[in-house]
């Protein structure tokens, strides 16, 4: 059961390596992580407007629905959100998500983590090569989307922009 998934994750790693992505990357088995699923982790170097390094995690959701794979991308933007700011960030995130074309931002771990996540369903019963392409596309889209809008959230968090101003800019 794990095989196609493992191969797909491997294809993802091969793809990013061959593209010369500068960050560190590696596939972690479920055992190593203590989770139910394997996970491909990659350091997204030079991410966003400031070129920070953020963690990208790519994996399959542990659903047992037959024939359908749920490929998920989670990019952790911040893991140290200060408690006092959580309500503001939550408001900004909620409003921004409304306009996001795919995936969404979210707060987790007691409002400490700010992430971007996207899940896409894929039919398993297809040639492996097509599945690989879809996985790669999904991953690239997630990274691209997360990067394109993180600037807004950052400015809201740094108090340079109110949520309303942010919406104004988005919808101009």
């Amino acid at each position: 059961m794990n095989d196609p998934k493992r191969e797909l994750l491997q294809a993802l790693e091969d793809y990013y390596r061959s593209e010369g992505e500068p960050g560190e990357m590696s596939i972690f088995t479920a055992d190593e992580l203590g989770t139910t699923m394997d996970m491909f982790r990659m350091e997204l170097a030079g991410f966003g407007s400031d070129g920070v390094s953020v963690l990208g995690e790519f994996f399959f959701m542990p659903f047992e629905e037959k024939g359908i794979l749920y490929f998920s991308t989670v990019i952790t933007l911040l893991s140290t959100v200060s408690i006092g700011l959580a309500p503001d960030i939550a408001a900004a995130v909620a409003r921004l998500n409304y306009y996001l074309p795919c995936g969404c931002y979210a707060l987790g771990n007691k409002d400490q983590n700010l992430i971007y996540r996207m899940t896409v369903p894929l039919t398993e019963n297809r040639p492996l090569e097509e599945l690989k392409k879809d996985i790669i596309l999904a991953a690239d889209t997630a990274i691209g989307a997360a990067e394109a809008y993180e600037g807004y959230l950052k400015r809201v968090i740094l108090n340079e922009l109110t949520v309303e101003e942010m919406i104004n800019e988005l919808t101009k």
Partner: protein, 1004 residues
């Protein structure tokens, strides 16, 4: 003045000569403790930073502050007075109390405190210094001044005796070293305590003491204080009281004393620092280290033997061997042969073979040769140099630290080989600087003077380095160091010159019998002037590098070693001036009128003209000029040259009388006045040039006229707050108004990777805890831009090209920028006739950001033509990557490079290269080209390109005066970014969008 006095002052000059070698005296200034004890000559007081006259009652207003005054004071200080009326009333009441206290203190404090007649040595040895804080009885920091003024003053007056006693005891035959170490630590703590109370006393005589509450001002961070201080210095009419107040606040922060505990800690720190530091033990496991090195070697060999490799085999293995050599030597003996793995044995065998045949089979890095010769115009490449520049030397500890980090980079840089091996070929001081920037998280915000801190106050620490770094940061640090390296070289050369001049000056009183004829008086004077000039230039450079305004006292710098150095240079200049007076037989002769030498800006309280002194020559010009002036010209002291010296001498002497520069008390004023001296010395010279006659006048005139960036404030690279903006290019200074570190800055500064990617054993171990230091406060808001702007700009350029007019460099950059826009337009065209998501900007044909399709979504783009389904415009990472790589390739002119390499018959790997696909070769060459430029990845290079363009736009739209001919073209290009454009004004020194904002917008 008789001969005796001359001897005396010369001896004083000589006493400053440290016992350490001349080179390291200037450069590897020993740790704080040594310079302190060895260079403070008796008779020359190492004074606390402030030496105000105690009786300055006039500074305090007669009446207690009114609410209005307080409110205004708070505004001036950039603080906010509470709007709550109840709280305000309370604040005014408190201010009144402070005012009363101030006036009482000023009128009642004892004026003539005498030094008590006690055994200072015994007294201090028995004194618990922390008691001087009177912590248990005081109401706040200031009350001990009022309650115990006489007592404190008497104690502090005894400090010099204590110091003398310690010095004498140190040389005594049976000196108790331990006890004397304790005593020295106590002495240093005492000096800190004295400075602390001096600062407090000075604050109490300042009207702002009453106006502002220490509770509020104490909350400001050093950064905030320094930024505000800089703003205050740049004002038209300076508020000198507020400046004094702020400077004292900074001093308090730097002193770091507040209560008994802090005093105890300080004393403890000093005691520890005086002890001989323990030789650091090497705790590494020999076997593990050998295995690690063997593994790296294996990986390197494997990648070199890869058929795709175009890397220089012999060179890389040689570099690996050299870096690993000391560890190999150390560890191979610690592990018995039976326990060595086969790969370790192979490594050792190959290494031994290499040693036996050094230099035999090093293959040239032919690829790099070709690439470097064809590098992009005006771009810097990493300099390949083994030896340090003249005048710079790393300590053995620094060298070893650099080597260890180099070894780590080899071991962990398997996928970054070209970048690593390029870096390891850079001069050692540059590598040191790179590691310094990373360990101190300064790679995004370097200050020019960081090279000084790196050289004098830093030893690389591998564990600190690995904790903090990722490859992006290393790349940034490398780029930053490349920009700072010319300055470092100049510093080295200048230091070397200073050292030589000082040698000659020292020889005045200790002439070398074999040195030939003694120098004439004129020669001596000329040498002294030379010394003054050289040190003046150095001081100016360090000041500018530290971001200090020239009128600021040197103790505003945070780095203690740099601070000490500034003070030392300052004092040495004063010594030279005194010496000159001794040499001058016509002391007190004709003075030049006061305003002949004072440049407007170092007068306190007057308008600050931001006059860059365009006529200022380079330091090279100065020293060159003096080379010519020195030896040959003074062989025959012609009438003309003697007159020149007289003129310069008068300038020096009259400098001593300038107001605003309290020579007698040695108060640490800013160096603005010394700048004035340096400038006027040269002005005198230039003036004389036109009227007098000198041998070799022509040559000198030429050197004087050299346009220089030496003494013109390195303002193109340093803002007032010391931030090194425009690190990556030399665009004109951009004042950054966003340097303030707010608390929330911390949010976006830590990466979240932490140790999530660390797995023990097999899988990739990632550098943990990469921290990024961002300084950008993004102001860009995405006002959707008008595509017409980019179009217009494009048309203008096209017209120019059609008319076969050559494009200026700026225009070329603009062209790249716009062609990028065009790329994005093409994609946009595919999206015509598309469903638009509601609510998002719909004007697809409207403006484009630099990265075009990363603008907020205009719709779903069907890109069947590209073979990809369901790609949203702006969110496809692969497309963005492709686009950016294309931009980088254009920048590198990669097509040209690929064909050069392919067609180079002399390339050692020529045969293999022919077999490679274009794509693969292109990728490799791109990596090599990026590495030589100091970029670890295309992303960093892309960022650099964006930076160049942003700076060019900023320069053309906001700064060029008069406006460039094609101003509209640049303006349109800038507005195509979609950001609101506001030129700099009197109230807002920075134009919008700022350079940083533009870069962020392009990078998003």
């Amino acid at each position: 003045m008789g001969k005796d006095n001359e001897e005396l002052s010369l001896r004083q000059v000589n006493m400053h000569k440290s016992q350490v070698s001349a080179v390291s005296e200037g450069l590897n200034a020993s740790s704080f403790k040594l310079t302190y004890m060895d260079t403070a000559a008796p008779g020359l007081q190492v004074t606390s930073p402030v030496m105000k006259d105690l009786g300055a009652i006039s500074a305090i207003p007669a009446q207690p502050p009114t609410e209005q005054q307080m409110s205004r004071a708070y505004d001036n200080a950039g603080l906010k007075l509470s709007s709550n009326s109840h709280k305000r009333a309370k604040a005014v009441e408190e201010a009144g109390k402070r005012h009363t206290r101030q006036t009482t203190f000023a009128t009642t404090k004892p004026r003539n405190v005498v030094k008590p007649n006690a055994d200072a040595f015994r007294f201090f040895n028995n004194l618990d210094l922390s008691s001087l804080m009177f912590e248990n009885e005081r109401s706040d920091s200031f009350s001990p001044l009022l309650d115990h003024y006489k007592e404190l003053k008497e104690i502090f007056l005894m400090i010099p005796d204590y110091e003398t006693a310690i010095r004498t005891s140190l040389t005594a035959p049976n000196a108790d070293q331990k006890a004397l170490e304790k005593a020295q630590a106590k002495l240093k703590t005492l000096y800190d305590l004295r400075a602390y109370y001096d600062v407090l006393e000075d604050m109490m005589s300042n009207k702002y003491y009453a106006f502002l509450s220490m509770e509020d001002t104490g909350k400001l961070s050093y950064k905030e204080l320094r930024t505000r201080l800089d703003g205050l210095y740049r004002e038209q009419n300076r508020d000198t009281d507020l400046i004094d107040y702020y400077q004292n606040l900074i001093r308090l922060k730097e002193l770091g004393l507040s209560d008994m505990k802090s005093v105890k800690n300080r004393q403890h720190e000093y005691t520890e620092s005086l002890k001989r530091p323990p030789v650091p033990q090497d705790t590494r496991n020999a076997r593990e280290e050998l295995d690690k090195m063997a593994k790296s070697y294996k990986e390197l060999l494997s990648s070199l033997s890869d058929e795709d490799s175009i890397a220089p085999d012999g060179l890389y293995t040689e570099m690996l061997f050299k870096t690993f050599a000391p560890d190999l030597a150390k560890f191979r003996t610690q592990v018995p042969d039976s326990k060595k793995s086969s790969s370790v044995k192979k490594l050792l065998a190959d290494y031994d073979a290499y040693v036996a045949n050094v230099g035999a089979h090093q293959s040239a890095d032919r690829t790099q040769e070709l690439l470097r010769r064809n590098k992009p115009e005006d771009e810097d490449v990493i300099e390949k140099r083994n030896a340090s520049s003249s005048g710079i030397a790393l300590t053995p500890a620094q060298q070893e630290g650099v080597r260890r980090i180099g070894a780590w980079l080899i071991q962990n840089g398997k996928d970054h080989a070209p970048f690593v091996f390029n870096l390891l070929q850079a001069p050692p001081e540059q590598q040191l600087l790179v590691f310094y920037l990373i360990e101190n998280k300064k790679q995004d915000n370097p200050q020019q003077a960081d090279y000084f801190s790196a050289l004098h106050n830093y030893e690389p620490d591998l564990s600190a380095f690995t904790k903090n770094s990722d490859w992006t940061m290393i790349s940034r640090a490398v780029r930053a160091s490349m920009k700072m390296s010319p300055e470092m070289k100049r510093f080295g050369a200048l230091s070397e010159n200073i050292r030589q001049t000082q040698q000659r000056i020292d020889a005045f009183s200790n002439p070398n019998p074999n040195a030939g004829a003694a120098p004439t008086l004129a020669e001596k004077k000329s040498t002294v002037i030379k010394g003054i000039l050289q040190r003046g230039v150095l001081l100016k450079k360090l000041y500018a590098g530290a971001g200090l305004h020239e009128d600021m006292p040197p103790d505003m710098v945070q780095d203690p070693v740099l601070r000490q150095r500034l003070k030392d240079e300052y004092l040495k200049i004063l010594e030279l001036i005194r010496l000159f007076r001794q040499l001058d037989p016509q002391a007190g002769g004709q003075m030049l009128p006061p305003n002949a030498y004072q440049s407007p800006r170092h007068m306190k309280g007057t308008a600050l003209e931001d006059t860059r002194e365009e006529e200022m020559p380079t330091s090279e010009a100065i020293t060159e000029g003096f080379e010519l002036l020195n030896e040959a010209a003074f062989e025959t002291v012609s009438e003309g040259s003697f007159n020149l010296l007289e003129a310069m001498g008068e300038t020096v002497l009259s400098f001593m009388e300038t107001p605003g520069y309290n020579f007698a008390s040695g108060a640490m004023a800013g160096i603005g006045s010394i700048s004035g001296l340096v400038g006027s010395l040269f002005a005198t010279y230039s003036l004389y040039q036109k009227t007098g006659s000198l041998t070799q006048a022509d040559g000198l005139a030429r050197t004087v006229d050299l346009a220089g960036d030496y003494l013109t404030n390195i303002g193109s690279l340093v803002t007032g707050a010391g931030e090194l903006t425009n690190v990556f290019t030399n665009a004109q200074s951009v004042v950054s108004s966003t340097w303030l570190g707010s608390a929330t800055d911390a949010l976006w500064t830590t990466s979240n990777i932490g140790d999530k990617l660390m797995v023990g054993g097999g899988a990739v171990a990632v550098v943990a805890g990469a921290v990024k230091a961002t300084s950008a406060t993004i102001q860009a808001f995405r006002e959707y831009s008008n595509f017409k702007d980019a179009d217009k700009a494009q048309q203008t350029l096209a017209a120019k090209e059609a008319a076969h007019q050559p494009l200026t460099k700026s225009e070329q950059k603009l062209k790249v920028f716009l062609s990028h826009q065009k790329l994005a337009v093409k994609r946009d065209a595919l999206s015509a006739g598309v469903d638009i998501v509601t609510g998002i900007m719909t004007s697809v044909a409207g403006g484009l950001t630099m990265s075009g399709y990363l603008a907020p979504i205009g719709g779903i783009v069907g890109l069947a033509a590209l073979g990809i389904t369901l790609v949203h415009k702006g969110v496809n990472y692969a497309l963005k990557r492709e686009d950016r790589i294309n931009t980088v390739d254009e920048f590198l002119n990669i097509d040209n490079l690929v064909s050069l390499v392919r067609n180079d018959a002399t390339h050692p790997k020529h045969a293999e290269i022919q077999k490679q696909s274009d794509r693969s070769l292109r990728k490799k060459i791109r990596q090599e080209a990026l590495a030589m430029l100091g970029f670890d990845s295309y992303k960093e290079c892309y960022r650099h390109i964006c930076t160049e363009i942003a700076e060019m736009l900023y320069q053309k739209v906001f700064l060029d005066n008069p406006r460039p001919a094609d101003y509209d073209m640049y303006y349109n290009a800038m507005s195509s970014l979609g950001m609101m454009i506001k030129p700099p004004s009197a109230t807002n020194r920075e134009g919008k969008p700022s350079v940083k904002d533009m870069i962020s917008k392009m990078m998003d």
